[in-house]
């Protein structure tokens, strides 16, 4: 018995165990204070689905040895451009989503390739450079949103008449296109089938890629470049490939996120998007050098569930300007705890 417990502890790791217990307490509390558990569960499923692709986007970069890709906004920008173009031509439904993807992915490939070239010159400093590249590209794109010659009156500023709006409604294009695909209800829980399926599909593709010769090569290049060299693997090429894949997934990720959210967020919206993703994968047990799809799923689930479950519960339990503070302390505290604990399972 003790051994089984030990094993569970080792696999799950203490931080995740603690977060899980915390979550459980909140869920019980939610039931006690009469919050609708099915509704919470539904929200949670949506949240996990919409954020998970962005978290998944970190995997190829980690595998290729470039660390946490904090330059996710690069890919996000490509996705947004794709979406904006699709809306400009007043496409709707699945077509708009497909066109957005069709425009965004090639862009992401080009951008990812160029960024990969940069990363190859700065081995070892990828994360901090990525942070600032992300910030700078978001500001650069602000100029683009303002000056780009889009005409669709649904998107341009209501008063000025030029430049894109801060938030663009997706009602006429691909709002909830994945969430509602094959959506059904179990009891009162709404299942965003399409969203989860789409995420599952992407996970499967990433996993499958890991099993190919190139995928193996990328993994080796990331975990031991000298070893990779001795296997005849072109490390720089693999790092570029990892960056490109990460950028592509980020651009798909933002489209998945936006279709679920219902709005596109331009300007400063994407500025900090890489950080929750990074926090999620770290909580999931990954490190900047090693990560697996399981870390993505566990991490996104734990991180998002804290955000979904904690605020309403605390709102009911404590009155006054306390719950947000409490939530901030708890969620950051948990991340800190995860960072500051050396756990066996994640080693």
């Amino acid at each position: 018995m003790k051994n089984i417990l030990d094993l569970a502890y080792n696999i799950i790791g203490l931080p995740r165990l603690i977060i899980s217990i915390f979550l459980l307490v909140f869920l019980i509390a939610a039931a006690v204070v009469d919050l609708s558990i099915p509704m919470l569960t539904g929200s949670l499923l949506v949240r996990v689905g919409m954020n998970a692709v962005l978290v998944l986007a970190l995997i190829p970069a980690i595998k290729a040895g470039t660390g946490l890709n904090l330059a996710l906004p690069l890919g996000i920008m490509c996705g947004l451009v794709g979406a904006v173009v699709a809306i400009e031509y007043k496409l709707s439904g699945a077509a708009s989503f497909a066109v957005a993807l069709a425009i965004a992915v090639p862009l992401a490939i080009i951008v990812g390739y160029l960024y990969g070239l940069v990363l190859n010159r700065i081995k070892g400093q990828e994360m901090i450079v990525g942070t600032y590249v992300g910030f700078s590209v978001v500001s650069g794109m602000c100029i683009f949103w303002l000056l780009a010659p889009f005409k669709n009156p649904e998107m341009v500023w209501a008063y000025g008449g030029t430049g894109l709006r801060n938030t663009i409604l997706l009602h006429s294009s691909f709002d909830k296109i994945l969430n509602d695909f094959l959506g059904f209800k179990i009891g009162e829980i709404e299942i965003p089938t399409g969203l989860l399926l789409f995420f599952g599909l992407l996970c499967f593709m990433v996993w499958l890629f890991g099993k190919t010769r190139t995928g193996n090569a990328m993994h080796v290049a990331g975990s031991n470049p000298r070893f990779a060299l001795s296997c005849g693997i072109n490390i720089d090429k693999m790092r570029i490939l990892g960056t490109v894949l990460s950028t592509i997934l980020a651009c798909i990720g933002i489209l998945v996120y936006s279709q679920s959210y219902g709005f596109l967020q331009l300007y400063q919206g994407p500025l900090m998007m890489a950080f929750p993703a990074a926090a999620a994968i770290l909580i999931g047990g990954a490190s900047p050098k090693k990560a697996a799809i399981s870390h993505v799923i566990i991490g996104t689930f734990l991180f998002q569930s804290l955000l979904v479950v904690a605020p309403p519960v605390i709102n009911v339990l404590v009155e006054g300007s306390f719950s947000e503070v409490f939530r901030g302390i708890v969620s950051n505290g948990v991340i800190l705890y995860a960072l500051a604990t050396k756990w066996e399972g994640g080693e």
Partner: protein
């Protein structure tokens, strides 16, 4: 070696600055911007970029177009104004560095405004400062700025609840977070809300949302609204009024309130241009840009279409635009030497003109130059 290098860099740089600076002085004189020299004054307007909100920026642009870029100097404060106070200060001070600058209108008066005004006042006390929608504490900012102007949050505490009750609200939900509740006016208004609700028999519910400047970010805060509104409607029924103190939350709030059949009496910053176009996906053809009547029409159509007739409202006039226009006109008068710094009657006049209707300005007890006003509401679909 390094010291030498640093020193050389500094010398080269300072030579250059002096050199260019001198040249630019000449340039100012030489450039054929003769009319400006003839006018002999300038006014400065400081707003946010469009990513903070369109109205203020566009209002300033209109003024620049009206009076020419040699009279009205338009500056923006940083998007991350909470973090970049120093830039805000430097930008305001740089406006005042021009000896012809006679008045500066800042809207919104983000943190750093008071510090900037104090710095300028050390050397020049001839400049008029008007702080619109101050973020700093009313008494603090009022001690430095000549005129502060804000929507009357205290009066709105009564008007919004009254409007909501009129529209059939049984519950009043107030979304905010601790940082906003440290704003004196916002905190007081919440208390007034609570009292008013009690008077009118409306249940007042205070809900904490994630702070958009915190770790969850704007997306986290917006996502919370998306999830919470249906929850609240399920709990309290559709006759619930939703109010949030944060601009970024308005769009999802309107969207979800409309979808769920809720009530939405007013935004945080009341204006037809605030959040409604984005939330409802309003299309504005190019020739209708800037047409307030048109947009009211459009919003009305969408609200009715969404089944929210008689349950959604806003001010007829974009509030921050009125502030900028009214204040700038007053500033022009001041620059021409026609009014003093605190001629509240004249200011009421220019504000009324900008708001296209009579405006009543109330001063705070503790700070009479902290003026507040309430605009006229329009309920869509009535």
């Amino acid at each position: 070696m390094k010291k030498l290098l640093v020193l050389t860099l500094l010398i080269v740089f300072s030579l250059f600055v002096f050199g260019c600076g001198g040249a630019s002085d000449d340039a100012v004189v030489e450039e054929p911007e003769g009319e400006e020299a003839a006018l002999g004054y300038k006014i400065g307007i400081m707003t946010g970029t469009v990513s903070q909100g369109e109205e203020e920026f566009m209002a300033a642009v209109e003024l620049v177009e009206k009076y020419g870029s040699d009279v009205v100097v338009h500056m923006t404060y940083p998007d991350k104004f909470m973090d970049e106070q120093e830039t805000t200060i430097a930008n305001i001070v740089s406006l005042a560095a021009d000896p012809e600058m006679k008045a500066i209108v800042i809207c919104q008066a983000v943190p750093g405004t008071k510090a900037a005004i104090d710095i300028i006042k050390e050397n020049r006390d001839d400049i008029l400062f008007i702080a619109g929608v101050p973020h700093e504490d009313p008494e603090v900012i009022a001690s430095s700025a000549d005129i502060c102007i804000n929507p009357d949050d205290l009066a709105r505490g009564e008007t919004i609840v009254a409007l909501a009750a009129k529209m059939g609200a049984e519950t009043f939900i107030h979304y905010s977070f601790p940082r906003h509740m440290s704003y004196e006016l916002l905190a007081q208004r919440r208390d007034i809300f609570r009292d008013e609700c009690e008077k009118l028999g409306v249940a007042f519910v205070e809900v904490e949302a994630p702070d958009p400047t915190g770790d969850a970010g704007v997306p986290g805060a917006q996502q919370f609204i998306l999830e919470d509104v249906p929850r609240q409607i399920e709990k309290y029924g559709a006759n619930t009024n939703f109010f949030s103190t944060n601009c970024a939350m308005q769009e999802p709030l309107i969207r979800m309130a409309l979808d769920g059949g809720g009530i939405y009496a007013e935004q945080c910053c009341p204006s037809p241009y605030h959040a409604y176009p984005g939330a409802l996906g309003i299309e504005i053809p190019e020739d209708k840009a800037g047409d307030v009547a048109y947009i009211l029409e459009q919003i009305e159509a969408k609200v009715v279409e969404g089944g929210g007739a008689g349950r959604f409202a806003t001010w007829r006039v974009p509030c921050n635009m009125a502030i900028i226009h009214g204040s700038a006109e007053y500033a022009m008068l001041y620059a021409k030497g026609e009014v003093g710094k605190q001629d509240f009657d004249k200011y009421t006049e220019t504000m009324s003109a900008a708001a296209k209707g009579p405006v009543i300005l109330n001063g705070l007890d503790a700070a009479p130059n902290f003026l507040m006003f309430v605009g006229d509401s329009i309920i869509f679909g009535e």
